[in-house]
């Protein structure tokens, strides 16, 4: 199974064997949940959401000021 991860303007193709949640993905990248909003296939989702084959996951960091 593979999915696309967009983070900090970088696009990566991720290959995974098991089912993951957004929370697991963020944990792998050591990103606190409080510091991001995540979109799955263009829609905002909660961290408990499952990542499925072919998904596009976009991680938007919130610590910008503004």
């Amino acid at each position: 199974m593979k999915f696309t991860l967009i983070i900090d303007d970088e696009k990566k193709t991720m290959k995974i064997r098991e089912k993951l949640t957004i929370k697991d993905v963020l944990k792998d990248f050591k990103i606190p949940l409080e510091a991001v909003v995540v979109k799955k296939n263009g829609e905002i989702v909660v961290e408990e959401e499952q990542v499925n084959d072919g998904d596009i996951i976009e991680v938007i960091r919130v610590i910008y000021g503004g």
């Binding site: 949940l33 909003v37 979109k39 909660v46 938007i60 919130v62 503004g66």
Partner: protein
């Protein structure tokens, strides 16, 4: 998992501090209601006020403008925006562009002012001269000077800024750690002073993550990029610590804010009369000493010349 309010299955946010799960519609509604409720609770705005939003084009100020436009539409307030160009190359241009687009879309008049026209120097030029302080100090002080001066000229009753919960708690912790106890008395939902236009913070109780989710859920066009100077700031270090703490203590930001509210009044009594505001002998703006903070900083970097802003009196 379903929305705590309407039962919809399309949940977009899980508020760990309250346990709520919300769908897009209910989330947007709760944010707007909470902000409007806080405006009422803290008496931030009264009917007929002319409110000026300090609009950078970023997520926070755009959210303030968006929510206050509800009050403008109902003819409760008069709403305008003020955007300041500090002169940060390859960064500020985009923010100004988005801010102008939002104002046009909402039909709100926008005023743009720059450091260059007021101080004859940009923040990039200040930093290139290797000054003794960090960029955020010059930027914040000089920006507030322009805001207050222009808001007075425009006849504004209030200046609304985009400070969110994270910003506010960072300020509390920073001032505490740096021993700036007098500053702690000034942190609150509104800053009142006879010599300054009242500043209000309608998003003070909304977490930064939720402000980001709000602009995305509403499809607002905002400049989501970190200021190049922020990397070096003390505020950023404190923000990182607080975000880390929130992981295991989801209510920590709110408890810090409430704790500060309890001690603020005691501190005010204790420090009463220690700082009396007068007028800067140089520019006429409010000052705690002979020179206001802006003139002090400009003097420090050798920029306090007659032509700079004596004409601004």
């Amino acid at each position: 998992m379903s929305c705590t309010k309407c039962g919809s299955e399309n949940v977009i946010i899980h508020r760990r501090y309250s346990g709520q799960h919300l769908c897009k519609k209910c989330f947007i509604e709760t944010i707007q209601k909470k902000v409007l409720k806080d405006i009422k609770k803290y008496e931030l705005i009264k009917k007929g006020d002319k409110v000026l939003v300090a609009l950078s084009g970023g997520k926070d100020s755009t959210t303030v403008l968006d929510i206050l436009s509800i009050l403008a539409e109902r003819n409760i307030i008069e709403l305008e925006a003020i955007t300041i160009d500090e002169g940060i190359k390859d960064y500020r241009e985009k923010g100004i562009e988005y801010a102008s687009e939002t104002c046009k879309k909402l039909g709100i008049p926008q005023h743009i002012f720059s450091f260059k026209e007021h101080f004859k120097i940009t923040i990039d030029e200040i930093m290139a001269s290797k000054p003794p302080r960090k960029a955020c100090t010059y930027c914040g002080v000089l920006r507030r000077w322009i805001l207050n001066k222009e808001a007075k000229k425009l006849g504004a009753d209030k200046i609304a800024t985009g400070h969110n919960l994270d910003d506010e708690v960072q300020a509390i912790v920073m001032n505490y750690l740096e021993g700036n106890i007098e500053n702690l008395t000034r942190i609150g939902p509104a800053t009142y002073s006879q010599k300054f236009v009242t500043k209000i913070k309608p998003l003070r109780e909304i977490p930064e993550k939720e402000v980001t989710a709000y602009v995305m859920a509403k499809g607002l066009k905002v400049h989501l990029e970190e200021c190049p100077y922020r990397k070096t700031s003390f505020r950023k270090k404190i923000g990182t610590i607080l975000t880390g703490l929130s992981k295991d203590h989801p209510t920590i930001l709110y408890s810090t804010l409430r704790g500060h509210e309890k001690i603020r009044n005691a501190l005010k009594k204790e420090l009463k009369g220690e700082s009396i505001l007068r007028e800067c002998i140089r520019c006429g703006q409010p000052a705690a000493r002979d020179l206001c903070k802006t003139c002090t900083l400009l003097k420090e970097i050798g920029r306090l010349k007659d032509e700079i802003h004596s004409h601004n009196r």
